[in-house]
């Protein structure tokens, strides 16, 4: 491996951006104009939500690519982005609860977005468990790719069925009118989260690669497809 690792540069940049963005979110954003201080939670909640969806989308693309090409690297990528996605989604749901309690006085609402997020988290945790129980590297890769595709396709289905299911209940939504200052802070945080996620996936990919290479001592030809 080359001695210079590009993700470390990304990591340093992400850390700096994150520090600035978090400072703005906590101290300079004019939160009181809207819903008091509680609105500041959205500066971490919304980026976590966006990035969680991005990482699972990456896992889906990686899984599809793996089933078509059979490249080991894509399987490691699926493993990396799934794990980062699970971390982000867990964070997102926790932050959502912390926002819901002071605003709507409940920790949980049976609402489409919440319910489909929780279902998505369960699915992908299941895939991580699946990965840990299959020893054979080829099978593990194919199985988790298939399960990833199935789980990802399921997300919009859950979303729309719950939306239909709860039409009798009212659907909660975030404030629609957002200040331009707030938008800027939100974007800054979203980019910080994005670069953090890129660093995490790259780092996790290297771990998966290291383990994968140790697992299959005699190297397989790259054309060995699933």
């Amino acid at each position: 491996m080359k001695s210079f690792k590009w993700e470390n540069a990304v990591g340093v940049f992400a850390l700096l951006l994150f520090a600035v963005a978090q400072y703005m979110a906590l101290f300079t954003a004019p939160a009181e104009r809207h819903m008091s201080e509680v609105v500041r939670i959205l500066f971490v909640h919304v980026p976590a939500a966006w990035i969680a969806l991005v990482t699972f989308t990456l896992a889906f693309i990686g899984a599809t690519g793996f089933l078509i090409t059979g490249r080991r690297g894509l399987d490691w990528f699926v493993e990396a982005s799934t794990e980062v996605g699970v971390v982000m989604t867990t964070l997102l749901i926790t932050l959502g609860s912390l926002f819901a309690k002071p605003t709507w006085n409940v920790w949980w609402v049976w609402e489409p977005r919440l319910t489909s997020t929780a279902t998505m988290l369960l699915s992908f945790v299941g895939i991580l468990v699946l990965r840990s129980t299959v020893r054979d590297a080829d099978r593990r890769a194919v199985f988790s790719a298939a399960a990833t595709i199935l789980s990802f396709v399921n997300v919009p289905i859950v979303y729309f069925s719950v939306r239909w299911w709860v039409t009798v209940h009212q659907i909660q939504s975030s404030p629609a009118t957002v200040d331009p200052d707030m938008v800027f802070v939100l974007r800054a945080n979203a980019f910080a989260f994005l670069f953090i996620a890129i660093w995490m996936i790259a780092k996790r990919w290297r771990i998966a690669k290291m383990r994968g290479l140790a697992e299959t001592a005699p190297p397989l030809p790259p054309e060995v497809t699933a």
Partner: protein
């Protein structure tokens, strides 16, 4: 949305602490796992 809710700063503090701990904790686990060599069987 009725707007003004006061004295809920504790939730904001909790949210940011949770964020830093989660991201920091996972990043630490990545660094630790990345430095550990897998056991050599062959």
């Amino acid at each position: 949305m009725n707007g003004i809710i006061e004295g809920q700063t504790i939730f904001v503090v909790a949210a940011y602490v949770v964020t830093w701990l989660t991201l920091g904790g996972y990043a630490a686990s990545l660094l630790i796992r990345g430095n550990k060599r897998p056991p050599e069987d062959s």
